[in-house]
Symmetry: C2
Subunit: 568 residues, 2 copies
């Protein structure tokens, strides 16, 4: 029997940004950052005033629309401790971590925020809250780690009915591990680090490490079809999650954690990615793996993107099955190098010299080490014998495709820093700069065209807007047929009034390119409201009609996170 | 541009059984078969009269319910050549190859058969037929190879509306191969051998080889969530089929052939397994692979099932990734050995001697080579180096789990005979014996319990019925979390009148055990009408409600293969 956490034990973002209050991006110890920001987007950090944090008390928070009777009924179910309707809780739960969400939160755009936050401790609690929501015609928005960047937890501005955020964070336990089958039954509210800690204490890992890892939950991953960095080995969440429990208006749906099933259209795959529109996921049975005896991340360099993609493709087609493969394009490689800390120790100073020497040598061989050179990381896991064999084979493949092997040093750095990027967006927002990401999947034969066209259309949009912009990209998550392209872009907005329009203009250029080239609206960032404008172009008129029908049939009263994924 | 086949070029089963007229099971050259049949189910073939084939002219075939105007309208769309309503065509298309279907066909139970068979040549044809069906309130049953054993193409006896079988066999072309991405666009009506022939001519394989391979189509595989023998390497059809085109009442649904998508609940996974209830699949984009340079099937023996399962599990957990792994239990091993042809050549006589010597040696080591010993096959594909390395590793794993390696000889025999089994059911029916199969998926920790309980409940059912029965089983299709168990059973029925009841009684004992133990109603044999009685126990009340809602929403008039998968 599991004991749910207390509400104050459940992690919470700072209300205006990503993660914890005391963690921020530090540019001063990264000498390459300021010059690059100045060159690419005209941001001269030496000239800027030190930013101050926004204060919630500067803004007006509207009163909760929950009636006293409704509040009382919820308290009767959950207990007073498990309902929070103070300003900070309501604000935090009304925004994911999309760019528009962050911008609106910082600027106190609280026109429509959730009216209360409820914290169920059991599946019965969830069912009772859902029943109450249906009886009282309340809106229910499930909340995991609040890290989505697609507006999946954001209430609709036009929603008049009282709206609850249902925070699953108290239900965070690994309930059972089937050692023989490598399957673990886990409550939906478990955050990434907590989940992996519980598993690794027993020698297991689930292997799901999205960028949002520190601030996202198992239920959230399932509800948004998340993909972790190590999907090449461990699979997307669709492969990892074998069975689900979801509280639905008509009862609890259970999809069996069986290897292969042939039971008609997949109910399991209707629930995955449903973002709370069919019910509340309370539990998942997931594949777990014994922690590999040896793990190594090796770094490689290619002279340019085309060579790199050929190398990645050749690795994907080989008999080597890495845990992940990642290729940064020229601009992203430059950006990564600009994030390297100033060498202070003797060892790091020596390493910096070695790097300078290597780059000089590569330039002498005709490489453009500033704009074109691409860094790549490949992660190997397994027995020592296998890791060594696979590394040797990848080294050959990389060389055959014009690249060189750097070794394990930079790989280890990558492996440690991988969850830090989200803090950078908050940092840039302090200086009126938008930084955001868009990603999609493409077949091997389409990757280069998508890559080139997205760049072209983004820079065209920025040129029309008359301001600077910077974009970079990496390829990761390889499959038999293709891979994911992950674009990051940044630009300074011109005024608070026009900021979100400027943002939409840039984002539109990228997203529209995806669907125009036959790629999906997202590879692993869900739909929510941010990607909703393209969903019909993505899944087609008839597909959209099928999904709309599914939601209308299961939630005719539109009480379950209405408006997400597709308009009614 | 593809040229569709002519109707007479489309493969057709004999009307009363599996496959071609001139292929039958020959027991006389298999000296082990008659004694086993006599021992297990009391069938003494030496005592039986030579059976005669049923004649269609012995039975009455009801007139087509299609009105002259409806027929004319269909002919106007498709041309006279592409509509067939003669008796044999109507009968063949009214039955899959389930045991009840075969029994009813042989005995001329033609109470309700399809009223005409239409053969579209293009997706436009399919759309036009569907429009006409909706206008005229006709029922439309898509037909691939007609090999399903779940009643998926069988019209409902109570259906009063004119019913069309829509045979996709003319549309059988590989339209395009994307060499870079390893993706092929293929029309849905392509039969297994035709498809693989078109692919292999260009150096590719799809790697999907279900038992039904010779008489099943790509569209049928997708519509029934088929799994091929080599799924360990190539995946179930859900993994192989990346994109689909389906003609739906509101237009054509296209699911993009992209690697990974995050576009809400998966429309793609609603279509897979939908058995024509949402529309007609016309095309699929599938993963294809370069034909492996080296392929080898190696046979192993274990002293008993428990050792075998431990060995299979250890292989699945190792770094070896075979193309398939298969373990026959004691009874199935005995059955397999009983199918070995009488040695006639010097070489086969020597081999038989060697086998006798080996078995004697194993008995001296305490093995029960008649009842308990289990044969296992593992298929290796890849470079010579990899195949050798993996074979060496599997040999070690097998030895560690108490088994021995037999070598490539028996494996090659298995590889050649794998598509012959369906003919055996027709042979047995000639002698009033039912032979059929049931399969499910179970986690590694549940496999032994499922195995034991199914045996127990099947033999208890046969004991209640007061007649003999035989059952055997193999494990194949391994996954991280478990595998498929595939049971075969046989028994003589007592009279034509009670035969189907006797059959249901035996089958119920097996299927009910599956769902009682938390396993799905089927691992890869679809639902149709044969597994429909257990679908709610399988996917639960709420899951059933979701699927029912999906069908009702997309096909409110119940024109699309009504009654399959779930009752309205």
């Amino acid at each position: 029997m599991s004991t749910p956490l207390r509400v104050d034990e459940v992690k919470r973002h700072k209300w205006w940004g990503w993660g914890l209050d005391d963690v921020t991006f530090n540019w001063r110890n990264k000498p390459g950052f300021q010059p690059l920001a100045k060159e690419k987007i005209g941001l001269d950090l030496f000239e800027m005033e030190e930013p101050t944090e926004p204060l919630l008390t500067d803004f007006e928070v509207p009163a909760s629309r929950l009636s006293a009777a409704q509040r009382e009924a919820l308290v009767a179910v959950l207990g007073e401790d498990n309902l929070r309707d103070d300003d900070e809780f309501r604000v935090v739960h009304s925004f994911g971590r999309s760019l528009p969400d962050l911008f609106r939160a910082r600027h106190g755009d609280f026109t429509r925020i959730v009216d209360a936050v409820v914290y169920p401790g059991t599946e019965e609690d969830v069912a009772a809250v859902l029943r109450l929501a249906l009886e009282q015609d309340l809106v229910l928005i499930p909340y995991g780690g609040g890290s989505n960047i697609s507006g999946s937890v954001t209430p609709d501005a036009a929603e008049q009915r009282p709206t609850l955020s249902l925070n699953m964070g108290r239900m965070r336990e690994v309930l059972e591990i089937d050692d023989t089958s490598g399957l673990a039954r886990v409550q939906a509210g478990a955050y990434g680090p907590d989940l992996e800690e519980q598993l690794s204490a027993l020698g297991w890992t689930m292997g799901h490490f999205p960028d949002s890892f520190t601030y996202s939950t198992l239920g959230g991953w399932a509800a948004t079809r998340s993909t972790g960095m190590q999907s090449d080995k461990y699979g997307d969440i669709e492969q990892i999650v074998r069975g689900l429990r979801m509280v639905h208006p008509d009862g609890t749906v259970v999809t069996k954690a069986v290897p292969g099933r042939d039971s008609g259209p997949s109910v399991h795959e209707m629930i995955l990615g449903s973002e709370g529109r069919l019910g509340i996921i309370t539990e998942a049975t997931v594949q777990v793996h014994r922690i590999a005896p040896v793990r190594q991340v090796i770094a490689y360099m290619y002279p340019d993107w085309e060579h790199g993609i050929r190398g990645m493709h050749a690795i994907a087609r080989s008999e080597v099955k890495p845990t992940f493969t990642r290729l940064s394009d020229g601009p992203e490689t430059r950006f990564s190098l600009a994030l390297v800390k100033e060498p202070t120790s003797t060892k790091s100073k020596v390493m910096a010299k070695v790097q300078d020497g290597l780059f000089a040598y590569l330039r002498s061989r005709g490489w453009d080490t500033t704009e074109e050179m691409c860094i790549s990381y490949v992660c190997f896991e397994g027995t020592k014998e296998r890791v060594e064999r696979d590394q040797a084979q990848v080294k050959k493949i990389v060389a055959k495709n014009g690249g060189i092997t750097l070794g394990a040093g930079p790989g280890a750095v990558y492996d440690q820093k991988k969850f830090d990027t989200p803090y950078l967006r908050d940092f840039l927002l302090n200086y009126q700069v938008f930084g955001d990401v868009c990603e999609t999947g493409g077949s091997w034969s389409d990757l280069n065209e998508i890559h080139a066209t997205v760049y072209q259309n983004y820079y065209a949009a920025r040129a029309r807007a008359g301001g600077p912009g910077f974009m970079f990209c990496h390829m990761s998550h390889t499959y038999h047929g293709g891979a994911c392209l992950y674009f990051t872009f940044a630009f300074p907005y011109t005024s608070e009034e026009t900021a979100l329009e400027e943002y939409q203009d840039a984002k539109n250029a990228v997203q529209q390119t995806f669907v125009d080239l036959g790629s999906p609206v997202s590879h692993h960032h869900a739909v929510g409201i941010e990607h909703r404008p393209w969903i019909t172009q993505d899944i087609g008129e008839v597909g959209a009609r099928m999904v709309r029908g599914l939601f209308a049939d299961n939630d005719p009263g539109r009480n379950l996170n209405p408006g997400k994924i597709i308009e009614p």
